[in-house]
Amino acid sequence: MKRRWTRPPTVQKLFDSAVRLSTQIYVAVSIAVLTIMFASGLGIFFVLQIGEAQRKVNEENVPRMVAAFEVAVRTEALTAVAPRLAAASAEDVGEISAEVAAVLSNFKSAIAEFRQAYEGEIDVTLLRSSEAEIEHNIGQVEKLVSQRTTLREQIDLLRAEFQQTRGKLALYLGAAADNQLFYLKTGYRELGEPPASRARYFNEAEFERYRLLAELSKFAEEMIQQIASGFAIKDEALLSPLVEEFEASLAGAQRVVNLVGAETKELDEVIGKIDRLASLGIGDQSGFSMHGARLRIDRDIQDLLLRNRREGNQLVSGVKQLVASASTASEEAAAFAGNVVLTATWVMFVLNGLSIVGALLLAWLFVERRLVRRLLSVSQSMREMALGDLDVKVQVEGRDEIAEMATALEVFRQHAREHLRLNLVEKMAAQLQEKNQALEEAMQRVREAQDQMVMQQKLAALGELTAGVAHEIKNPMNFILNFAEVSQELLGELLEEIDSGDRDAEKDRRDGKDIDFGLVEEIGSDLTTNMTKIQEHSQRANSVVKGMLAMGRGTGEATATDINSLLDESVRLAFHSARAADQAFMADIQQDLAPETGTLLVKPQDIGRAFINVIGNACMAVDEKRVQLADQRSEDDRYEPTLTVSSRREGEKVRVTIRDNGIGMSQEVMDKMFNPFFTSKPTTKGTGLGMSLTLDIVREHGGTIHVESKAGEFTEIVMELSDYPDDPGGAQAEEQEAP
């Protein structure tokens, strides 16, 4: 025999565990987790790559670009704010200076950051010089602006003064001229005063005066105009010619003033105002010079701003170049990152696809087919079991946890079934018990009833017997009576005879008749016969009574009993009983009793009862047939009801056969004939207990009954009897044999 290769135990264990669900699930999850980890790892790897590229960009390129951008922006801001400073009004200048300072510091910090970002990589001296230049310029601008502010304030003051002076001068000069003209024309100077003489006023000097005043007005007007335009001049270059003009006008005015002289108060005022105008126009503190200075400042500021702008542009363009290079580097990094992203995307895509497919497969192959389906099957089984159906076997597939569960469920099912059965059995047993109990009780009742019935039967039998007995006794008694009557009559006759004879003796003569001694003998013989008959019949009656007594002497013990005589008695009783029941009853009872039959140890009452029953039934049967055939058969074919009672001795046993040619029994009836209460007789006629009792009695005696019958023909009942056994009823009841 070839030895089959078996796996070593550890390997077998491994294989076994491989089938387990837990293992499979762990494996699946592990695979999933590993996949995730792998994907994550991949992702992380890609991300790191991108991160590295980004880092390069962020830490190197971007700061540079940002710094460069910042520098550009701040430079622009600075370049933009400087003109604002230049244009600031007195109230705003403080605010804007602060703003400029802030912008400047931002600018410087941007430069610093830029230098830091490009540490060592490029030559930053260019930046430095530009930065310094710009800063210096801004400082200058600020200084100049503040100077200009002061100047402006001063100029404003001067201007205000100028306006006032101008207004006043106009008034005064106007009034002076007006008055002079009036004076010239009318000679009046003051209202209250009388006019001057015409010569006084209407002369060359006064005309001259008027003209001078007019000229003074003109010069004053010129001066005013010049100062006004001086304040409005934008071009410093135009200032000096204006100043010259002013000087000319002033000179002219002064000349006129000198000529006019300060004769009137008004003129004093005028001159004062003109002086004031002069100071406004001439000298370092004059409006012109201030205005000139202011213009110069403006120009310087503009220069500085321009220079700043140029520097700024240079700076910015230099920075822009650097920015460009940085930005290309950034672009490269970005492109690289883009590539990585693309690759990563594809990889992720593929991974995802695989994962999805894998998951689907898993779901279908594993989860659905191996898990879910079986679980459902098990749960279905459980449901059926819950609903009470325990007969369907639980499907067990595989060798894993679910199989174990199924197996356990199967076991449970079987146990449950058993349990149920046991329960059922128990229940049934209990029921049975109850039924048994009931049955017992019923049986008891039946037994009681049976006993009663038996008693009744016995009583009935007794009744029958009594009837029979009565009949048996009645007969002899009749006879006895008859005979007694006859005897009485005979005696009477005798006596008469005697009497007649006797009387003759006594009397002398009666009838004269002699005693007929022949008659007396006849009568005497008749009497004797009668007496004998009476005696016979009395004995017969006696024996019947004795027999009956013997019958009624209780069921008691088995005694040796002569079967034949018992049979004979039974025949007689049965016959008479039948006769008593039906007067028309006729049957020919043939006794074929073998003398060897002898005795048996039996209970005579019982066996006798049995005999009576059987014979009684036979009688009934033939009578029934007789009645049935009474109409049918003709005289010739007359039915002769016949009973045959025979007995034979067969060793220990005695066979008693009772045959009749009565109506017989169908198979059905034969089957049931020994059933208690089964009878073919009408209810009034039979209890149905006869044969049953008979069977009991025979069985009790250890005997058997055989029945042969043909419906409508005959019935033969064979009883095999033996001595009353030590254990009664031990012999099994035999099945009836079919004829």
Binding site: A170, G174, L191
Partner: protein, 390 residues
């Protein structure tokens, strides 16, 4: 219980209304604003307007004000300068939050201030000027009391021609929009009568440099000279004219500043006419048909014991009375909208005999021009008819 409910309800209403009310309207008072010449050469004009308005306000306050509100007046000086007027008006509206502007003085200041009035849609009540541009129907927020310069000059020309049969007329005018407005009026009036102006001469604004004008106008020999200017140059002019023996009929436009003119002229003022746009303000003792003058005098005295009646302050009083009258109509719900609406109603407003009429297209209440004549002792008396000085 009932009273408390009433008061409570009333307070609620008032506070609710005042919450919704315009600027300058408070539960206890309503505030008006005035920017006028309170200083400088034309200060008499501003001060008189202010006096008159305050007299009217205090008179109303003494009888409980308007729906329980006191009337208050905030006055700022603009020296008859337009720039100042602009600054003041803005301040009054935005800082002082006045309900309405009242009693401004002068044409140039008004012209400068008008855009602000329109911008804020604030009532501009009774400016002391007869300028035409303020009287155009499109000016929805200006309410003039006095007749216009055109009306005045028309009246002047009418009277001169009708009463004195004078057709040779000259004009002295201030060299600014005011003066030119008057000049235009005279020219128009003459043109209507198919006459021409004989001569005109300006003088510099805010000065008394009038001698040249004296000479020029004297040279033209008009029979009447209409003076469109303020009292100082007008007085100087008249004095020198007369001093030179040049003595036409002098008629001044109402803006001149009558009392100041009288004071400046002194003796020289005899027979000088001044056109007026308000009734004769002095309580002459003779019953006038205009009760408002009596009321005005009472109010003036109640305000200041030593206050003296005058045309300027009467005009101020009338302007104040108008404001009060219209505000009363609006009762508790005093809003600018209501005020403006009420002003436009055509029903005549009778201020104790002085009747004002406004309308949808009419923002000038009075069309009345009166004439007064000055005496040597600086007294005015009303005249119906001009006559030459004897």
């Amino acid at each position: 219980m009932n009273a408390r409910i009433c008061v409570g309800a009333w307070l609620l209403t008032v506070s609710a209304i005042s919450a919704a009310a315009d600027d300058g309207v408070y539960p206890d008072r309503v505030v008006f604003g005035q920017s006028a010449a309170l200083d400088g050469p034309a200060r008499a004009l501003g001060q008189n307007m202010r006096l008159g308005i305050r007299a009217a306000f205090e008179e109303a306050n003494r009888s409980g004000g308007i729906a329980g509100r006191r009337l208050e007046l905030i006055s700022l000086n603009d020296s008859y300068e337009p720039a100042e007027a602009v600054i003041n008006t803005r301040a009054l509206i935005e800082n002082h939050k006045v309900f309405a502007l009242i009693g401004a003085v002068g044409t140039p200041p008004s012209r400068a201030v008008l855009p602000i009035v329109n911008e804020h849609q604030i009532p501009y009540i009774g400016p002391f000027t007869g300028a035409q541009f303020l009287r155009e129907a499109k000016e929805r927020f200006v309410f003039n009391v006095r007749a216009s310069y055109h009306q005045e000059t028309e009246m002047m020309v009418e009277r001169l021609i009708a009463d004195l049969n004078v057709s040779r007329i000259g004009v002295l005018y201030q060299d600014d929009s005011f003066g030119r407005a008057g000049l235009r009026g005279v020219v128009r009036a003459l043109k209507k009568r198919e006459l021409e102006l004989l001569a005109s001469c300006p003088y510099p604004r805010n000065s008394t440099i009038v001698k040249k004008a004296v000479l020029e106008l004297r040279a033209a020999k008009p029979d009447a000279v209409i003076i469109v200017g303020s009292y100082a140059p007008a007085a100087e002019f008249i004095k020198w004219c007369r001093h030179l023996g040049f003595n036409p009929v002098f008629i001044n436009i109402s803006f001149v500043g009558s009392v100041a003119l009288a004071n400046s002229l002194g003796d020289w003022g005899e027979g000088v006419y001044v056109a007026q746009v308000v009734p004769f303000p002095f309580a002459t003792g003779t019953p006038t048909k205009v009760d408002v003058v009596a009321r005005y005098n009472e109010a003036l005295l109640a305000l200041h014991e030593s206050a003296r009646a005058g045309f300027g302050s009467l005009e101020g009083y009338l302007v104040g009375r108008l404001a009060i009258h219209i505000a009363r109509r609006c009762e508790v719900e005093l809003t600018r909208g209501c005020f403006l609406q009420e002003m436009r109603k055509p029903e005549p407003i009778d201020l104790d005999g002085f009747v004002l009429k406004f309308g949808e297209d009419d923002n000038q209440g009075s069309d009345s021009v009166f004439f007064t004549r000055l005496t040597a002792d600086q007294q005015y008396f009303p005249v119906e008819v001009l006559r030459r000085q004897p």
